[in-house]
Amino acid sequence: MSDAVVIARHLNKVVTTSEAPLQILSDVNLSIQRGSSVAIVGASGSGKSTLLSLLAGLDLPSSGEVLLAGQSLTALDEDQRAALRGLEVGFVFQSFQLLDSLNAVENVMLPLELAGRRDARQHATELLERVGLKARLSHYPQQLSGGEQQRVAIARAFASEPAILFADEPTGNLDAATGQKITDLLFDLNREHGTTLILVTHDERLAARCERALHMQAGQLQAEQAV
């Protein structure tokens, strides 16, 4: 376990509702090796997206602890977690989350610019070429198809060369054929950059391409099955 890049210990997440407290996660423990690919699968409402948000430091557990790249997230404040994210983490979302007011290349440039990279435009252009969008550099998100938007999002996620890439239903908004291409792209880039890939999906085929699959059910992690 020496090279574990993400470790979760006794994670619990409880939200208070108007009726009774709702236990979304209960006692989740896991450890993910650097460079591996892991799928978190489960039905809607099983708590898999909540787990992702806790692992990525977007939210805090009610109890338990997450170690991300060796840092305990609970020990950091929100701004320190943000800094850690900027350094180590990339995201790909189901709804792409591109900024409408920026065109394709500017969206990819954003993390590079935030990191103060002078060659942001050049690097972003190369990344977009790599994901097959050479002809779409100056298109705005509205002018791109869903598959194209997700390619831009993937290019953006890899731009800062993160150690860990979190993907939330990356093919959820795409048709099967496009989803397949996006999946290929995601795994290709993952291999090329040696990134740790953690993705949430209910697409069994996508999960099958990962080295490990963690099954969530009613907020609990099921015993791991060999893939």
């Binding site: 997206s49 943000a82 900024l99 409408d100 007011s101 705005y140």
Partner: protein, 842 residues
């Protein structure tokens, strides 16, 4: 990440946002704010300067120093060193004699520089065509008033002796600029050259002479000089500036100033509403950006800084553009008005640019900052859960900041703390109350919705689903309409006030020295020539010598009073240092109002007198005090039984002292009246003067004309600023509406995909916006009434009455305007593909 790259990143992001069209509404709103306040400030300043110049004509100068003894040469020398123009004059009374008769006249000896401001008019013969001249008579010559020529039975070209000097009457003086401020002086004017003064031998030590030093020049030099002078003034020396000049003009200018100041505030409120709404929209549309930036590693503070920097850049841009537009707008306005304005308007100073710039920054801080602060509160988790919106900023923060900024701007505009507080507290209380009312109304209606038709339910649904949001919108639109309404109401009130002040048939002549035996005949004659006359008042000259047995204070002690009290002190000073026109009347003169005591009744003491209120105040006299007079050598004492407020501006005979009938019996008296004679009937005056040779006729038409000219300009300014505010209001209305449309477009598109027909959507949209407009209109009119009431009561000192017509018109107009604008703004719902709208709104 340190701040330098953040600053440049903010700039790059802003440029990208601009290209994507995200910022146009916000920039537009800011631009309107800066443009309006710059334009109004420019326009006001230039017009004000121009009107001051005209008001200066009433003095013949910008500043006058006067004294009963010769003024030190240092005063003139220092003025010249300061770059000021100077003119010296000496005034005294002297008896003019011809073979036929004698007449006490008011002589003024002037140098070649006189007048420094304004011009004189002269004529060759009485009632002949006039000629405008800008220097006085040459040495050896005299100009006299036409009535003096008639009285002395002389002709132009005849010689007239002034003291030991014999001078030739070379023209008739029909108008001198600085006579206007002093038209109550009854003796006819003789104008001569200062060079001849010594030859007259009249000015000897101890003779009653008034020395005047007239000054003109640039504001800055004048005020420096005035400060220098104040420290050196002897007790018997007096300074008169334009502000102390003519009462009518001063009042009109003061009111116009207040109006223009208020119009600027209305403009800022308008722009503030637009800025707030569009900044709110900007914030709403950038929640995702904020969340994404946090995912990409920016801290809360860095995100905030990024957006604030963008806001600052945008503000700077809007300010620069707005200043340019504002300058252009006033320039265009002045071009349009060129015919009606004085030929050379003074160049504007830099103040308007500062005002405009400050407005832009304040509007940003007060109205745009609070919504943008929310951007720093967005949780990064929003990237996974879109429904996570940040907590709204504290309403204390939002409204507190906006109010503080508004107060500051208003104070700067009006320079009047009272008017500012009246507006702010009136406005805030009204807004709060009405917002609450709107919210309650919407909530109570919400429960009864299910009985309505689908179009009604859809139309009102948008407002009722989120009463708080709807109340905010109603408040915003209400504020816009209220601002426009207040300016409109005030303008109407001001114009009618000015009209009342100087109606077309305001008396343009005074007739004095009418003998009691001629009273009947004179009244009949006036009627015959078509003159409209005020009552005839008996007048006996007399001097006030004591109050409750104590001799009245002397001039010296009065004029040594500090500056601020000078105006009021002057009234008292003047009153006790010259003969007062004493009159008696059985009835209270028209336009007079009792402020204390009772008008004559059976219980009034025999020796009762009624005193004018301002004089009473400056003399410290009240009811029951005993006043001592000397009239024609006889002493007389009278008890004050009432205090009257007098309309000094109405060009009819007004009196400081009105005695009860009988008190002045046995004392010699002549009669005094004023009347209006149309210009076309002027020729009949000749007959009047011939028929009543003892009568003195005083023409005040030139004064009236001068005042009317200034009022006309002020009126124009007010009208144009009104148009400006109304246009700005409409622009802001559209901008504000635009900022609220996103959600509506999305919902409309959704309904269409669900199969809603276009007619249904159109009906629902109409209903929604009509309802919104109607509520905003009702709110606006209530708030405007409250605001004007507060303004009239506490700042303008006008009588307030409800404006019933506006109660009807405002809600209707508001409903129609917002209805049309809203339907137009959402026309995409029925015209575009719903898919496009949904993908945009999602």
């Amino acid at each position: 990440m340190n701040s330098a790259p953040l600053a440049s990143l903010a700039w790059r992001l802003l440029r990208r946002e601009w290209r994507a069209g995200e910022l146009r509404v916000l920039l537009g709103a800011l631009l309107i704010a800066v443009t309006i306040s710059t334009a109004i400030s420019f326009f006001t300043e230039r017009l004000e300067r121009s009107m001051t110049v005209q008001a200066a004509e009433f003095l013949g100068a910008d500043l006058v120093v006067s004294s009963g003894s010769p003024l030190p040469d240092l005063y003139a020398e220092h003025a010249q060193n300061q770059g000021l123009q100077i003119s010296r004059q000496v005034g005294f009374n002297s008896v003019m004699a011809s073979d036929a008769t004698m007449q006490l006249s008011s002589v003024k000896a002037v140098d070649a520089a006189y007048p420094l401001r304004g011009q004189m008019r002269i004529a060759e013969q009485p009632f002949a065509a006039e000629k405008t001249v800008s220097t006085g008579p040459a040495a050896g010559e005299l100009w006299i008033e036409p009535r003096l020529l008639t009285q002395l039975e002389l002709e132009v070209g005849d010689a007239l002796e002034v003291g030991y000097a014999s001078l030739t009457i070379s023209a008739l003086l029909t108008h001198e600029p600085d006579r206007a401020g002093d038209f109550y002086s009854l003796t006819p004017r003789v104008l001569m050259n200062l060079q001849d003064l010594e030859a007259t031998g009249i000015v000897q030590p101890g003779s009653r002479v008034r020395y005047r030093l007239l000054l003109s020049g640039e504001d800055q030099h004048l005020s420096t000089y005035q400060q220098w002078l104040e420290t050196r003034l002897e007790p018997n020396q007096r300074v008169t500036s334009v502000k102390d000049g003519n009462r009518q003009v001063g009042r009109a200018l003061g009111r116009a100033d207040q109006f223009l100041g208020l119009a600027s505030i209305a403009a800022v409120v308008l722009a503030g509403v637009a800025v707030a709404l569009s900044a709110g929209r900007f914030a709403l549309r950038h929640f995702d950006t904020s969340a994404m930036l946090r995912c990409l590693g920016l801290s809360r503070r860095q995100v905030m800084r990024l957006f604030l920097l963008q806001l600052l850049y945008l503000g700077a841009l809007a300010t620069l553009l707005g200043l340019a537009f504002g300058w252009l707008a006033q320039w265009g306005l002045l071009q349009l008005l060129r015919e009606l304005l004085p030929s050379s308007l003074p160049e504007p100073g830099l103040t308007p640019l500062l005002v405009g710039g400050a407005t832009g920054l304040c509007a940003l801080l007060g109205f745009a900052l609070p919504p943008l602060l929310r951007l720093g509160q967005v949780a990064p988790l929003r990237v996974l859960r879109r429904d996570l919106a940040p907590m709204p900023s504290s309403s204390w923060l939002i409204y507190g900041l906006a109010l503080a900024v508004l107060s500051l701007l208003m104070w700067q505009f009006t320079g009047d703390l009272q008017i500012t507080l009246a507006m702010i507290f009136g406005g805030a209380a009204a807004a709060l109350l009405l917002g609450l009312l709107a919210w309650l109304l919407l909530r109570s209606v919400a429960g009864k919705l299910h009985n309505l038709s689908l179009a009604w339910r859809l139309g009102s649904g948008e407002l009722l689903k989120r009463p708080a949001a709807a109340a905010t919108q109603i408040l915003a639109f209400g504020l816009i309409f209220m601002s426009m309404l207040v300016v409109l109401i005030l303008r109407t009130e001001l114009l009618s006030d000015w009209q009342d002040q100087l109606p077309a048939d305001a008396p343009n002549h005074f007739a004095l020295n009418i003998l009691p035996s001629e009273q009947q005949a004179f009244a009949e004659q006036l009627e015959q020539i078509g003159a409209r006359s005020a009552p005839l008042y008996p007048v006996t000259p007399g001097r006030l010598v004591s109050i409750n047995g104590e001799p009245v204070r002397q001039e010296v002690s009065k004029e040594a009073e500090p500056d601020g009290q000078r105006g009021e002190q002057d009234r008292g000073t003047r009153a006790i240092n010259r003969d007062l026109s004493l009159t008696w009347s059985a009835t209270l003169p028209p336009d007079n109002q009792l402020t204390a005591g009772q008008w004559w009744s059976d219980s009034t003491p025999d020796n009762a007198v009624s005193i004018e209120s301002e004089l009473a105040e400056s003399l410290g006299v009240g009811l029951g005090d005993e006043l001592g007079f000397v009239i024609e050598g006889q002493s007389l004492s009278a008890i004050v039984t009432s205090v009257r407020q007098v309309e000094w501006d109405n060009f009819t005979p007004n009196f400081y002292m009105v005695f009860a009938p009988g008190v002045l019996d046995g004392l010699p008296a002549t009669l005094l009246t004023s009347f209006h004679l149309p210009a076309s009937e002027r020729a009949s005056l000749r007959g009047l003067t011939r028929q009543f040779p003892a009568m003195t006729l005083l023409e005040v038409e030139p004064v009236l004309e001068q005042i009317r000219g200034i009022l006309k300009q002020v009126t124009l300014a007010v009208e144009y600023v009104l148009v400006f505010v109304l246009l700005a209001g409409l622009a802001v209305l559209f901008a504000a509406l635009q900022a609220t449309l996103d959600q509506r477009l999305y919902q409309g598109a959704l309904l269409r995909t669900l199969g809603a027909e276009r007619t249904l959507l159109r009906r629902a949209t109409w209903l929604e916006f009509l309802l919104l407009g109607l509520l905003a209109g009702v709110m606006a009119v209530v708030a405007a009434e409250l605001a004007t009431w507060a303004l009239y009561r506490f700042a303008l000192e006008l009588d307030w009455a409800p404006h019933l017509l506006f109660w009807l018109l405002t809600p209707l107009t508001a409903a129609l305007l917002i209805g049309c604008a809203g339907v137009w703004g959402t026309r995409a719902v029925v015209r575009q593909s719903p898919m496009r709208l949904i993908s945009r709104g999602a």
